[in-house]
């Protein structure tokens, strides 16, 4: 009951998912859509576990007065405020003014800025890693340099650089991507098969 039934469930669901790909019948598609709804419903209902975990981590930090515990108040109040804005009867749900403002003026700028830190990290990573230490590192360095230098006006050298950049993007870049993608495809199918057959079952834990 604890292991066998879940493993059978995995097998049946997996097998259906494989077979439906080849069957264009409406009825099959309906079941497929229905099962996708299941995953969504399970996913959202289990968000409660996430909320509980978040709550527990931060309340415990406060209780134990561990380092930086003061900031946990900020996280918890952000969470509670958003829930109140969104769920308080008559608040208007996702149309609520505060809910939307918190999204536009707190979430969006911080997330966008976090994303934009990549501009700096890409620079520091390039500085540190692009050293001609070995053949491999040198190839990595040269390819990246040619592509980046393409931006810089260099007079008569420019057409040569842009040709070289075009070639790199067109020939080795394509070959590399394709080899990786084919490998990933086989690896992923093998892993999914192992899950279906119950060979790979670590996700169930052990008793």
């Amino acid at each position: 009951m604890k292991r066998r039934v879940p493993l059978m469930m995995v097998f049946v669901v997996s097998l259906f998912m494989v077979v439906q790909n080849f069957v264009p019948l409406d009825e099959w598609n309906w079941i497929y859509q229905f099962l996708l709804d299941w995953t969504m419903i399970i996913g959202i209902l289990s968000l409660l576990l996430g909320m509980w975990s978040l709550w527990k981590v931060h309340t415990q930090k406060i209780k134990r007065k561990s380092e930086n515990y003061g900031y946990s108040f900020i996280t918890l109040s952000g969470l509670i405020l958003m829930l109140i804005f969104g769920f308080f009867p008559g608040s208007g749900g996702i149309e609520n003014y505060w809910y939307r403002s918190f999204f536009y003026y707190i979430m969006v700028p911080i997330q966008a800025t976090m994303f934009s830190l990549l501009a700096f990290f890409i620079a520091s990573a390039a500085f540190r890693a692009f050293r001609a230490r070995s053949v491999m590192a040198t190839l990595l360095l040269l390819a990246a340099l040619v592509i980046m230098v393409r931006f810089v006006p260099m007079g008569p050298l420019s057409p040569i650089v842009s040709d070289a950049a075009g070639w790199i993007l067109k020939v080795p870049n394509l070959a590399a991507k394709r080899a990786i993608i084919i490998g990933v495809g086989l690896g992923a199918v093998a892993t999914a098969l192992k899950v279906m057959l119950g060979i790979e079952r670590s996700y169930l834990g052990r008793d």
């Binding site: 409406d26 598609n29 289990s46 576990l49 978040l54 976090m114 990549l118 990573a125 992923a188 996700y203």
Partner: protein, 407 residues
């Protein structure tokens, strides 16, 4: 002038219309009158067939008709009408140019859709040839034509063969591995480094950070990462180091909790398991990164694992990890993120190596067997590629089409 004449003609033949037998005669005579005025309606189109489009659930029909080519210039366009019964209401479905005698009637599956076209139903079509002078002629009603869903998508035969062959390989090699056949597996630097990295954290008395990525629990990369997490957690339990697993998704978190708990149990230290070591951060991509980066700079882990599905956050995490001096082992199947892991991490499992790693770490013959199957598949693929290329170079293009999947 024109209208007057027509009106007169109609008046003249009005009594005759009441008799069905004579009515036709009247029309003919009307036509004769029109011919005199040189406004001849175009000839009728003749519906030949309406075929069900194959490989779908039965919501598409291709209507074909015949039309005398020499009259092309006297027609502006064809209008296609459809009804559920021969004398039902004909609804305009679309138009077709004057020299194209085919119309693909695409309907929707959803009943709520205004364009709903149920399968297993009969349809009747009528083609109206719209003439240049505003006179049009209707075709006879064609039908009934049926749409029906198919049980198998014929364009996917090569895909089906590929899937079945690969399944056979996998099952065969797994079974032979089970039989105790020794398999050689080439060493992978990223995997060899795992033990050393955990040992280093133990020596330094610092925690180990394990990031499962931002995929769901149904993502293959996440599933591969689960297995690796199991091995890492077991080692961590044996070495008595602490483990931090911040999660992006509650189901992934739940699974990770089960895995880590089992690993501690397996290592014989269930009491050491800290429930709060696997926790949820948030499911907003960059807020998650902000949180994990915060954990990194404050808890200063000695070793970071990034294994699973990653998007743009890969470099944000890896650079922060590098700045705090952690040993980093990464792996993802996302081709676009691999360059960043390769550049910023000490060891990177490239694409397929991530899937292989779960088998490596376990040294479980069952899991290793599938690696052999993957290798065989690769070998066959390479041979196939070379053979077909040779065939094409020799001017034989057919094999190239045999293996093509037509969706």
């Amino acid at each position: 002038m024109k209208h007057k004449l027509r009106f007169a003609a109609v008046l003249l033949f009005l009594p005759l219309i009441f008799s069905p037998l004579l009515a036709q005669e009247g029309e003919e005579m009307q036509d004769g009158l029109l011919a005199e005025m040189q406004i001849e309606p175009p000839p009728q189109a003749v519906i030949t067939v309406a075929e069900d489009m194959p490989n779908d659930g039965g919501h598409k029909l291709t209507v074909r008709w015949e039309f005398p080519k020499e009259f092309t210039s006297s027609v502006v366009r064809f209008e296609v009408y459809r009804a559920y019964s021969p004398d039902g209401e004909f609804v305009l479905r679309g138009e077709s140019p004057n020299d194209f005698y085919e119309y693909l009637d695409i309907g929707d599956r959803e009943e709520e859709s205004p364009n709903y076209m149920p399968n297993d139903s009969s349809y009747y079509y009528k083609i109206v040839a719209v003439g240049t002078e505003g006179v049009s002629s209707e075709s006879e009603v064609g039908g009934p034509y049926k749409t029906y869903g198919q049980w198998f998508h014929t364009g996917k035969v090569p895909l089906l063969i590929a899937v079945i062959l690969f399944c056979i390989f996998t099952i065969y090699f797994v079974l032979s591995a089970k039989g105790g056949k020794e398999l050689y597996i080439r060493p992978l630097a990223g995997i060899e480094a795992v033990d050393e990295a955990i040992g280093r954290a133990t020596e330094m008395g610092k925690p180990i950070l394990y990031v499962l990525g931002i995929g769901t629990a149904a993502e293959i990369a996440t599933i591969a990462s689960f297995t690796i997490l199991g091995r890492v957690a077991k080692k961590v339990a044996e070495y008595q180091t602490s483990l931090i697993v911040p999660c992006y998704e509650p189901i992934v978190m739940s699974v990770a909790q089960d895995i880590v708990r089992s690993a501690y149990l397996e290592a014989g230290r269930p009491d050491q398991y800290d429930e709060d070591s696997v926790f949820f951060v948030t499911n907003a991509q960059f807020a998650y990164v902000a949180g994990v980066n915060g954990i990194m700079v404050r808890d200063l882990p000695a070793t970071n694992f990034y294994l699973g599905y990653f998007a743009a956050e890969s470099l944000l995490l890896a650079e922060t990890g590098n700045a705090i001096g952690a040993i980093q082992i990464a792996g993802t199947d996302q081709v676009s993120q691999l360059p960043f892991f390769v550049v910023a991490c000490d060891y990177t499992l490239i694409g397929e190596e991530l899937y292989a790693a779960s088998a490596y770490l376990g040294r479980d013959p069952l899991l290793l067997g599938s690696l052999k199957a993957e290798d065989w598949a690769k070998g066959i693929l390479m041979v196939l590629m070379v053979l077909i290329i040779l065939a094409v170079l020799l001017g034989w293009d057919a094999p190239r089409e045999w293996i093509r999947v037509n969706l």
